[in-house]
């Protein structure tokens, strides 16, 4: 799976799950504020990522995630690590 595919899948489920317009998602935008995430929403992100990519995230994986780009990169790294 290449970087573009990861971004497309992630953006699609974020739009679907958090009911936001596609336009608000840009690589440099702050993910938490843009999506209005609270602590419970991170639980659901773990579930969705596992179901889409087969990788399990923990709390520590989100520590350095601020922008959407950070999120894409983190997922890509987890996929590579699993492979």
């Amino acid at each position: 799976m290449n970087k573009e595919e990861v971004i497309e899948i992630v953006n699609n489920f974020l739009v679907e799950e958090f009911e936001v317009e596609q336009e608000v998602i840009s690589p440099k935008a702050p993910m938490k504020d843009t999506l209005g995430l609270d602590s419970l929403d991170y639980v659901d992100l773990v579930v969705i990522i596992e179901s889409n990519f087969g990788v399990k995230l923990g709390e520590a994986d989100f520590v350095n995630v601020e922008s959407f780009q950070d999120f894409y990169d983190m997922i890509e790294n987890k996929i590579k690590a699993k492979a």
Binding site: E17, F18, E19, D38, L40, D41, V43, D44, V46, V47, E50, K56, G58
Partner: protein, 408 residues
């Protein structure tokens, strides 16, 4: 302590005979059954695949994602009923920021939510993959925890779990809190999930009606040919309020709660007796300070089981004699279980508002107990102003409520 009058200023209903007060009133008048045959239950190994069915409401226009993923089936129905009740009570959402409102709601199972969460755990073997909404759907207090959050309620907040008397006790307890001056307004009601998981082990007891080829004839309370109940569900909400509060805000007053009686059988876990229900009815009469002869209609608990209906008929006859009209609306709705005590008060108020008594459909042949009662088998056009509603449940919990048409 000064005792305050307690009135009802709003009602909402989401049931198998209609998803609004207007629809339900029409069904009650026409004697329409909401019972269906569910092939999924048959395939799953149910002895009786009959059930009341309600549509799944679309909540997206009303609730955000976080609110929706925390609520299960029973709360969806309760929410729809509560929307209608608040609208009729002329209470808008901003009201809750300015006034303390409580919630006491009847619910006694969350089977589907627990099974879904458990299935996920077994499949994934990781609790982190169950999702954030599951815990809030998997607790018995799911209805009150969610509705109190959605409406930002700041008063009393708890679920009443008392088997098939849950909804009735929620009204009774709300009445006591308002009467004593501890609360001014409480959202009361009952909710019941309708999926097959909630009813599988109940079906296993062999107490469900067997007449699968004629679903609308299967629930036949008091009839000699009855052979069991039909499970059902939905949501029913009533807004209870002190008379002073209702008058102060110019609310429409629908009815007055006059009396509440409760008791416990002190006997078998599932087989009811006569004495417990009779005690609850006597206490309700005493609390309402009315004679038995003043009751103009009795909405019976009668679920269509052989022993339960017989014992209730004996208890009613002992206290009220054979004169007052009696019907069990479960003949049309099936047994709405945790919701039934609340929904049946709404059904009775709808009759009282519209001058009729809904029929106990399928009452064709009386037995030795029911022949002594005045059971209404076809719609009776009749004005009445005072009724009693019975609800009994597993463990021998009993509740009786007396309500009156509101007169200034």
């Amino acid at each position: 302590m000064e005792q305050r009058r307690v009135v009802i200023t709003g009602m909402g209903i989401y049931s198998c005979i209609g998803t609004s007060l207007t629809e339900v009133k029409d069904s009650l008048y026409k004697g329409t059954s909401g019972i269906q045959f569910d092939p999924e239950r048959k395939a799953a190994g149910f002895r009786s695949a009959l059930t009341g069915m309600v549509p799944t409401p679309d909540l997206k226009p009303f609730l955000n994602r976080r609110q929706r993923i925390s609520i299960g089936e029973e709360t969806e129905y309760a929410y729809m009923a509560t929307r209608e009740a608040l609208e009729n009570a002329q209470i808008e959402e901003g009201f809750f920021d300015e006034h303390e409102v409580g919630i006491l709601y009847g619910n006694d199972s969350v089977s589907k939510a627990i099974i879904e969460a458990t299935d996920l755990l077994r499949e994934k073997k990781d609790t982190a993959l169950i999702g954030s909404g599951a815990i809030f759907k998997s607790m018995n207090s799911t209805v009150t925890m969610n509705l109190s959050t959605i409406y930002r309620l700041r008063g009393v907040n708890m679920t009443i779990s008392a088997a098939c008397a849950s909804g009735s006790h929620s009204i009774g307890m709300g009445y006591l809190l308002i009467k004593s001056g501890l609360q001014d307004r409480i959202i009361c009601g009952g909710a019941q999930e309708i999926n097959m998981y909630a009813m599988a082990s109940f079906d296993g007891l062999g107490v469900f009606a067997s007449r699968e080829s004629e679903p609308e004839k299967a629930s036949r309370p008091f009839d000699a040919g009855r052979d069991g109940l039909v499970p059902s569900g939905g949501g029913a909400t009533l807004i209870l309020e002190s008379y002073e509060s209702a008058v102060k805000r110019g609310a429409p007053i629908i009815a007055e709660v006059m009396g509440y009686g409760f008791s416990s059988n002190g006997g078998h876990i599932s087989t009811p007796n006569k004495e417990g229900p009779a005690t609850a009815m006597q206490r309700a009469l005493s609390d309402a300070n009315v004679e038995a002869s003043a009751i103009e209609y009795i909405n019976a608990h009668a679920t269509s089981t052989p022993v339960g209906d017989a014992n209730e008929a004996k208890a009613i006859h002992e206290i009220f004699g054979g004169k007052p009209p009696v019907s069990s609306t479960k003949s049309m709705t099936g047994h709405e279980c945790w919701m039934a005590g609340a929904s049946e008060v709404i059904y009775s108020i709808l009759m009282m508002q519209n001058d009729f008594i809904a029929p106990n459909i399928n009452f064709e042949n009386p037995d030795e107990d029911s022949k002594k009662l005045n059971i209404v088998s076809s719609t009776l056009n009749k004005k009445f102003e005072l009724f009693l509603s019975n609800s009994f449940g597993f463990g021998g919990t009993n509740s009786a409520l007396i309500l009156k048409k509101f007169n200034n």
